[in-house]
């Protein structure tokens, strides 16, 4: 019996056209553009200078502040420059640009293919190693993992939930690692359980990935009994943090709360793999699996790719820019970011590059709201997007707060279903930012 969350949700076509493409190593590019702002929080502080020789996996930037993460070189070569370059949105971000010379890895990294099953580190050591290796959440927000694994004093985690739902259409990177690195993921989950001191973990997978569920269950039954594999209904946004917790544990995270408020920590399967590699193999997070897909592409592939690869080179690796492609999306089509500059480079949490045609993506002309209530039905947070949209346009901040605009998870379901093509989420996201700013500026009780 598959589980699911209780409120709202939509059923977009999943279009997982790259499911059968096994993960291949992406050729190392000539020059890597490594952003210093690959995670939520303060940008990292570069510790290398122009002209320095770096090896693959060498620390090139240190975490700067509490919420921040280390950054390691994804290639070996000479630092060409440290400069401000546009990210995918065109905003300037500090980048370390490395001219690639060969591919020499740090000696400390264990590159043998054997699976290291023995956990010998203490919880503190595990968290320290995760922090050292710059692991961040690979589910989208790129929150530094070591902070998430250290709950604030007074809060205790009961369960660890691992998100293998991959509810976004098109994406297959999590699916491929669940098939190809099954046991590594389970060991990663065990490491995180040990770090958190929890006895139970649940790994949720949407039922449109039966092979992954089967393989996970098979391996989990051999020595990973404390990790329960949960089959989830195919329904967007099943992989949303709050929705996943609701589906698996039946607990609902309170408004403005965090998962830890209901005793849960959620991590992505990709993060679990990164944790395994960091702790057991001493390998910092400098590469990840990226799905390069799109109906207009001649072929769809899953690559293991170094951080700092430009979107341009990804497109050319799969046969060049298709004529009818009009939009590039980094991430999934529901929550991913549109790329405005193809010379921008991938970051740790880049999970996909999606190419869409004008027909697939162009928004229709906005028409009058016919009050069909489809957005109300679709909203997984039980909000009323049509109302929030109207209030946002009138800038009625107090009413917006009373209608819980700050609970919006920006999943995009409302805009997806709207028959009148009203840019619901655009206006709601804007007012959500305003309301959150006001709420946070209030003195704490």
């Amino acid at each position: 019996m598959s589980k699911t969350f209780r409120i709202g949700g939509i059923h977009p076509h999943d279009n997982k056209i790259s499911v059968n493409a096994a993960i291949e190593n992406f050729p190392v590019m000539e020059r890597a553009y490594i952003s210093m702002s690959q995670h939520l929080g303060a940008p990292a502080e570069p510790v290398v200078a122009k002209g320095d020789k770096v090896k693959t996996g060498q620390l090139i930037a240190k975490a700067n502040g509490f919420i921040s993460a280390n950054i390691h070189s994804s290639v070996s070569g000479t630092v060409n420059s440290i400069e401000m370059l546009p990210d995918l949105a065109g905003n300037l971000v500090q980048h370390v640009v490395v001219n690639v010379e060969g591919d020499e890895w740090m000696e400390s990294i264990d590159r043998t293919p054997e699976i290291n099953r023995v956990i010998k580190d203490s919880p503190q050591d595990i968290i320290a190693k995760i922090a050292e290796c710059g692991v961040v959440g690979l589910g989208g927000a790129a929150f530094p993992t070591h902070i998430k694994l250290s709950p604030p004093p007074g809060k205790k985690a009961e369960f660890l939930l691992v998100n293998g739902a991959e509810c976004e259409p098109y994406l297959t990177s999590d699916y491929r690692i669940m098939l190809e690195n099954t046991e590594e993921i389970l060991i990663g989950v065990k490491l995180m359980m040990s770090a958190l001191g929890v006895k139970r973990a649940y790994l949720g997978i949407e039922e449109n990935k039966p092979q992954a569920i089967k393989k996970m269950k098979e391996i989990a039954s051999k020595g990973y009994q404390e990790i329960k594999i949960v089959s989830l209904k195919k329904r967007y946004p099943q992989g949303g943090e709050k929705q996943l917790i609701d589906a698996i544990t039946g607990r609902q995270v309170p408004s403005m709360g965090l998962p830890i408020d209901v005793g849960v920590v959620v991590q992505n399967v990709g993060t679990a793999l990164a944790v395994y590699e960091a702790v057991q193999k001493n390998k910092p997070l400098f590469e990840g699996v990226v799905t390069v897909t799109g109906k207009c592409m001649p072929e769809q592939r899953n690559f293991r790719m170094r951080v700092g690869t430009t979107f341009e080179s990804m497109i050319f690796a799969v046969g060049g820019f298709p004529k009818d492609a009009e939009k590039l999306v980094s991430g999934g089509p529901m929550m991913g970011k549109a790329v405005s500059r193809i010379e921008a480079a991938s970051v740790k949490s880049t999970s996909a590059l999606l190419l869409l045609t004008e027909e697939e993506t162009k928004r229709g002309e906005e028409a009058n709201c016919i009050r069909c209530a489809k957005c109300v039905d679709a909203c997984p947070m039980g909000l009323e997007p049509y109302l929030l949209n109207r209030l946002s346009r009138a800038n009625r901040i107090e009413d917006l707060e009373a209608n819980m605009v700050h609970d919006c998870i920006e999943c995009g379901s409302c805009l997806y279903v709207c028959p009148a093509d009203i840019p619901l989420l655009d206006t709601i996201r804007l007012s959500k930012t305003k309301v959150l700013k006001i709420i946070r500026s209030r003195p704490k009780k």
Binding site: A89, A338, S340, P423, T427, L430
Partner: protein, 286 residues
């Protein structure tokens, strides 16, 4: 018959009296003591409720005026010096005359000089666009062209020009209330002194990129070449992070910088049409 009439009159009188008493006591009990001058000051004010004064509306501004010790820092941009003088006279205070200001748009990258590098396809709002990315041209500072300023204006003074994609200010209608300054997420609009007979000179660009980058993104960008600074005899021009800025208090409107600017980023407004450069040179030689 007469009895009915008398009874009716009597009962209505009593009823009227009782209700009058109730009204009287409630009015006494819930009486709000308010300075009557506030009402009077409010009638002097223009009543636009635009918030340009920093108060929430005309009534609260009137309250502020009446309760304040002096008129310092209180100014109604819509009514201008006239209205403020009348308010001050009424309250028996003096008020310093403010120099009239006007909103200026510091971006002149139109569709030709600043070509689009991508197509925006979201909600028509500069704020939404600015929160999403740097903009649909290569200039990260320039006008996004979605018209938030036009929407914010209560006086119909700023309008998007569909040909250039840039907003244009109607100086006669502009009251310098500052609503557009707040509405613009790129902080392109600035309030500047209107100048004598509306003559003013300003740098119509806020691009802080290095000259080459700025020039590549927009043909009319300020490239921070310092030529204008050198030609200025009044120290009115400062250059910081590759961008020139003209201090309107120091500028003597000599127009030398306008000629000097290699990218035409410096604008002059309300000056007579210039005699072509060559002729000027010839005249000087003679």
């Amino acid at each position: 018959m007469t009895a009915t009439i008398i009874f009716t009159i009597a009962s209505l009188t009593v009823l009227g009296l009782v209700l009058a008493l109730i009204l009287y006591f409630t009015a006494q009990k819930f009486k709000v003591v308010e300075d009557p001058r506030i009402d009077d000051v409010e009638t002097i004010l223009p009543g636009a409720n635009c918030g340009g004064c920093g108060f929430t509306g005309c009534r609260s501004f009137a309250e502020g005026c009446v309760n304040a010790e002096s008129m310092d820092g209180l100014f109604c941009p819509v009514g201008g010096n006239d209205v403020m003088k009348r308010v001050a006279d009424y309250l028996g205070r003096s008020v310093a005359e403010m120099v009239p200001q006007v909103a200026v748009v510091r971006c002149n990258g139109n569709c030709d000089s600043r070509p689009k590098s991508n197509n925006y396809d979201g909600y028509t709002s500069c704020a939404v666009m600015a929160s999403l990315y740097a903009g649909d041209t290569d200039c990260r500072y320039g006008c996004l062209g979605q018209g938030d300023c036009e929407l914010s204006c209560d006086f119909d003074a700023i309008k998007m020009n569909p040909r250039t994609g840039l907003p244009e200010v109607d100086a006669d209608k502009c009251t310098a209330c500052g609503a557009c300054v707040k509405a613009c997420p790129k902080m392109i609009i600035e309030l500047r002194n209107k100048g004598p007979k509306g003559k003013r000179i300003f740098v119509s660009c806020i691009n802080k990129d290095k000259g080459g980058v700025a020039k590549k993104a927009c043909a009319v960008a300020c490239i921070g070449c310092t030529k204008c600074q050198k030609v200025c005899a009044y120290d009115a021009i400062t250059i910081s992070s590759n961008l020139a800025y003209i201090d309107y208090n120091k500028c003597k409107l000599c127009r030398k910088c306008v000629v000097e600017c290699p990218t035409n980023a410096i604008w002059e407004v309300n000056f007579p049409v210039r005699v072509p450069k060559k002729e000027v040179a010839e005249v000087e030689q003679h």
